[in-house]
């Protein structure tokens, strides 16, 4: 750890614990953890002010591998526990690590309500579209028809699109990243940490054991330039090896166009506005899927609004300034009392 001009600078190593990392070799979790450790090192927060809270699942082992304060809790409840941590001490940087089963199945209720309240948490959602720890059952993000141990004939239900839930819950921050792009993971985690409010980062994660290649079409180095759209606030939505393709908004829909073709020029390409309060375009971006569209990556939405824990502190301060009751003795003796002599 180096202390420079009042700013704390750590190295990612400062965030590694001595516990042996037990994820399967090749699991996407390794890369995501590396990205988060890098992000934390550069945020300027004191080491002891980080708290990492997880639920249950492969990814939820995360806190054990970190040298920060950590709490590996119970299935689905990480969001609620993390909310309590943040309310107890709003100065902390609280990170929730959950998988798709943990956050969206058993923990679905806490997920949506935490986002609705806009508590200042960084919620990293590892989406491998499968239950890994219990060895390969379908999850709420598993594609329809997919064959797993509990859907030997294919699932007969539609998956959640996590970003849709975030927006439906009035989410103020949603970003997407993929495990084989550590730099992108790190960037969006940094943005998530800086955002005030509930920041949800969906990381597309590969489970080499039970769902190998589930995101291959998106992650494949050969095709990813065409299959991923990297969004940057204020920048045109361009993609492709030579940035030769872009997204336009036509008749209330997104459309992929090629620059110089059909009369489209760079001026027609949409400029990404992550800060606009309206959800319409953000929703459309979240919904983009292969093969018609590239998959949107980066910070899709980052909107500023009231933050629960800040409001909680303010409300307490306001009431305290007004109230005549300053301590327990005041309270006990307030209202109707009488004296027996």
């Amino acid at each position: 750890m180096l202390v420079m001009e009042d700013q704390l600078v750590y190295t990612p190593k400062d965030f590694k614990s001595s516990n042996e990392v037990r994820w399967c070799p090749g699991c996407g979790d390794h890369a995501i953890m590396a990205a988060i450790q890098k992000a934390m090192a550069g945020l300027g927060k004191k080491h002891e002010d980080y708290a990492v809270i997880s639920g249950i699942g492969c990814s939820s082992r995360f806190p054990y591998y970190m040298s920060t304060y950590g709490f590996h809790t119970i299935h689905g409840r990480a969001a609620a526990i993390a909310s309590g941590v943040k309310c107890a001490n709003p100065e902390l940087s609280v990170w929730q690590i959950s998988g798709d089963g943990d956050a969206l199945a058993i923990g679905g209720n806490h997920f949506i309500h935490t986002i609705r309240r806009n508590i200042d948490l960084n919620l990293i959602l590892f989406n491998n579209k499968i239950y890994g720890l219990t060895k390969g059952q379908y999850s709420p993000t598993t594609d329809r028809g997919f064959v797993t141990k509990t859907s030997p004939f294919g699932t007969i239900e539609d998956p959640f699109i996590p970003g849709q839930l975030v927006l439906g819950s009035r989410g103020t921050f949603f970003a997407r990243a993929i495990d084989n792009n550590v730099k992108l993971c790190q960037e969006v985690c940094e943005e998530a940490a800086k955002h005030e409010g509930t920041s949800v980062v969906e990381v597309l994660q590969n489970c080499v054991i039970f769902n190998e290649g589930v995101h291959a079409e998106i992650s494949n180095p050969k095709t990813r330039a065409d299959n991923q759209l990297h969004l940057v606030h204020g920048k045109p939505m361009l993609f492709g090896k030579e940035n030769e393709k872009g997204i336009v908004w036509e008749h209330g829909h997104l459309k992929v166009v090629e620059l110089g073709k059909d009369g489209y020029t760079i001026d027609d390409i949409m400029i990404h506005d992550a800060h606009e309060p309206s959800r319409a375009v953000h929703m459309a971006l979240i919904n983009m899927s292969l093969p018609e569209f590239p998959v949107a990556m980066g910070v899709i939405r980052a909107v500023k609004t009231d933050v629960y824990d800040e409001m909680m502190v303010k409300q307490i301060e306001n009431v305290q300034a007004e109230s005549k009751i300053k301590n327990m003795d005041d309270l006990l003796n307030s209202g109707d009392t009488w004296v027996v002599e």
Binding site: S17, N19, K46, H47, E48, D49, Y50, A51, I53, I56, P63, Y64, M66, S67, T68, Y69, G70, F71, H72, T73, I74, R77, A80, I81, A82, S83, G84, V85, K86, C87, A88, N89, E91, L92, N109, H110, H113, M312, Q315, I316, V319, Q320, E322, S323, I325, K326, N327, M328, D329, L331, L332, N333, G335, D336, T337, W338, V339, V340, E341
Partner: protein, 613 residues
């Protein structure tokens, strides 16, 4: 010449107000009770309301009652049966006649005896007195509606507002009957409706009209005189169990120097704890209304991990939902208080009624070997002390503590001598001090509690969780370690016994029969035992507030009695527990599961029977 009203001097009198849910009976009862307390009586109250907020008007199911017992000595119960029933409609008479002592007084609004109301209440004739065989009761028939209208004829008020103030007429009348002033009620009305002067005027006019009516027609009602109670010197207030629970937790936060966090979800009859703490932002309370019961406790566990005095409040079904999370708090060895205001179960059961059937759930309702401290408050105001103690134990021993109260305590109120904070016990949370020596699960040799270090404290960074751990907080699947940790967690709870005061015996320490109770039945049991002793019977009472662990001297106390009868509002859960813990004694049982408290005479009859056999 008006005859003097018959004056009856009494030590205790029970009054019950009954009417439609919308008639304002809870308010009327509360105002009368507060008046009694303010003017020097000891009281005990019992609101008895249907779970439907507005059941069909005039129906039996919609009758809401409020009972108060007041006296010139210590009053421990709201009374088995009422001396006076104030009934606002025919349904109220029909539904609550059974709560009136034989020969008691029934005051009712005769204007409410309309055909419609009589039919709705299921009468076959238009004479309830005749039909219900009330000839032996003292019937006071008052045209309440007419007289209310009359009192308000000079005011420009709509019909609804007029009818709404009827309850003030009965309240005024009852204040006259019991020789109490209208002072408190008037000042309440003035504050409550200060923005609507016409409503203040109307309510006070009607209140006075009721009082004056009593005076003018005094020949028709026996008048009760209850002297002021001889009670300990001090400043008093009325408090109900839920409020006392909330305030006890607040007091513990102040004494321990930790901020208070409450994670909770509304559930009858525990909601008022959440409401009372939500109102206390001025004392810095972080009251978090969660999305469900599970989030209620989980946010509290998070807050505990981060250094707050963390609490969750609920009732039976909610406790069931919280069980997995309680297990986590046990495993992570975090301090937390779980308040369970018991109601009739199982399932949704009887939400507004009282019961003691969550004892086994509190003791054992979790997966794995998962002991926690279980305590129970005995009276409404007691909830303050036991909520405080629960927090103290949690913070000093790093354990979850379940505090059991119940619907009867939650809503019942009694005068309470206000404590001074300087006299409350010290609370010393086990906050870690030395980062060099800190290990997540290193513990004090005597009490076996670990230390508490939370995010923000430099040098104590550590990981905890629901998986079995070794001393450093690292996950351990080692079987020897698991055995050791299971034993330690159990022993840690057992050693809380050092903080548990000895069991006290009310009555002689050696006698024929020991009545044993726990929690919210205290008032009824002590009243029954007191009366039995006054009748010369060889009976004592041992009442438990600490259930796990049991007080150290329990065995010794039990050994001095020929017979032990365990009285509880369930099918015998505490009796079973005692059979397990102290199998050397045999236990008789007295159980009741009707959603209502014991009645004193039931307990006496049962003990008398035991004495005879």
């Amino acid at each position: 010449m008006a005859k003097e009203a018959k004056v009856v001097e009494r030590e205790e009198v029970v009054v019950r107000f009954s009417g439609d849910s919308g008639d304002g009976m809870q308010l009327t009862g509360t105002l009368f009770s507060d008046t009694l307390a303010l003017e020097g009586n000891d009281i005990s109250t019992f609101p008895d309301y249907p779970s439907e907020i507005r059941a069909p008007q005039g129906s039996i199911g919609g009758v809401s009652g409020f009972q108060v017992n007041f006296g010139n000595g210590k009053v421990n119960t709201p009374g088995d049966q009422a001396d006076v029933l104030v009934a606002m409609n025919p349904a109220a008479i029909k539904a609550h006649k059974k709560y009136v002592k034989p020969g008691g007084t029934i005051i009712f609004d005769r204007d409410s005896f309309t055909e419609r109301n009589l039919t709705k209440a299921g009468y076959k004739t238009n004479d309830p007195v005749e039909e219900l065989n009330l000839q032996d009761y003292h019937i006071v028939s008052v045209p309440v509606t007419t007289l209310t209208r009359e009192a308000l004829k000079e005011l420009d008020l709509d019909n609804k507002s007029i009818l709404r103030s009827k309850n003030m007429f009965t309240l005024g009348l009852i204040c006259w009957v019991f020789d109490r002033t209208l002072e408190h009620v008037e000042s309440f009305i003035q504050t409550k409706f200060r923005k609507k002067p016409i409503i203040v005027d109307a309510n006070i006019r009607v209140l006075k009209a009721g009082f004056n009516y009593g005076m003018n027609v005094q020949a028709t009602a026996p008048r009760f005189i209850v002297d002021k109670a001889k009670i300990e010197k001090g400043t008093y207030r009325n408090i109900n169990g839920n409020m006392a629970t909330a305030w006890g937790l607040l007091a513990a936060a102040e004494k321990s120097g930790r901020e208070l966090f409450l994670g909770s979800y509304p559930i009858t009859p525990a909601t008022e704890v959440l409401q009372a703490l939500s109102a206390r932002k001025d004392l810095g309370v972080k009251a978090f209304q969660a999305e469900d019961e599970i989030a209620g406790i989980c946010t509290a566990i998070g807050a505990s991990f981060a250094g707050d005095l963390a609490v969750t409040s609920t009732s039976g079904p909610g406790l069931a939902l919280k069980s997995e999370a309680i297990g986590l708090a046990i495993m992570a060895e975090l301090p937390i208080v779980i308040v369970n205001v018991q109601r009739g179960g199982p399932s949704t059961g009887l939400p507004t009624k009282t019961e003691q059937a969550d004892l086994m759930q509190a003791l054992y309702g979790r997966n794995g070997e998962s002991p926690c401290v279980v305590m129970a408050a005995g009276t409404p105001s007691d909830c303050f002390q036991y909520a405080f103690e629960a927090a103290k134990i949690a913070l000093e021993r790093m354990v979850p503590v379940i505090l059991l109260t119940d619907g009867f305590l939650a809503n019942g109120s009694e005068p309470w001598k206000i404590p001074a904070m300087k006299d409350m016990p010290v609370i010393t949370p086990r906050i870690a001090k030395d980062p060099e020596k800190f290990k997540a699960f290193a513990r004090d040799e005597d009490i076996l509690a670990r230390e508490w270090a939370f995010p923000g404290m430099p040098g104590f960074q550590h990981r905890i969780g629901g998986l079995e751990k070794d001393i450093n907080g690292s996950v351990s699947h080692d079987f020897e370690n698991h055995q050791k940790m299971v034993n330690i967690r159990a022993e840690k709870v057992a050693r809380v016994v050092e903080m548990v005061p000895d069991l006290e015996v009310y009555g002689d320490e050696e006698a024929d029969v020991l009545v044993v109770g726990w929690g919210g039945t205290y008032g009824h049991l002590v009243t029954a035992v007191r009366q039995l002793r006054e009748e010369g019977k060889s009976v004592s009472l041992a009442h438990f507030n600490y259930i796990n662990p049991l007080p150290k001297n329990t065995e010794e106390v039990f050994s001095k009695f020929k017979k032990i009868v365990v009285c509880e509002l369930n099918l015998g859960q505490f009796a079973s527990y005692l059979r397990d813990k102290l199998p050397q004694f045999s236990y008789l049982q007295h159980n009741k599961v009707k959603g209502i408290p014991f009645e004193v005479h039931e307990i006496k009859d049962n003990v008398n029977e035991i004495l005879e056999n």
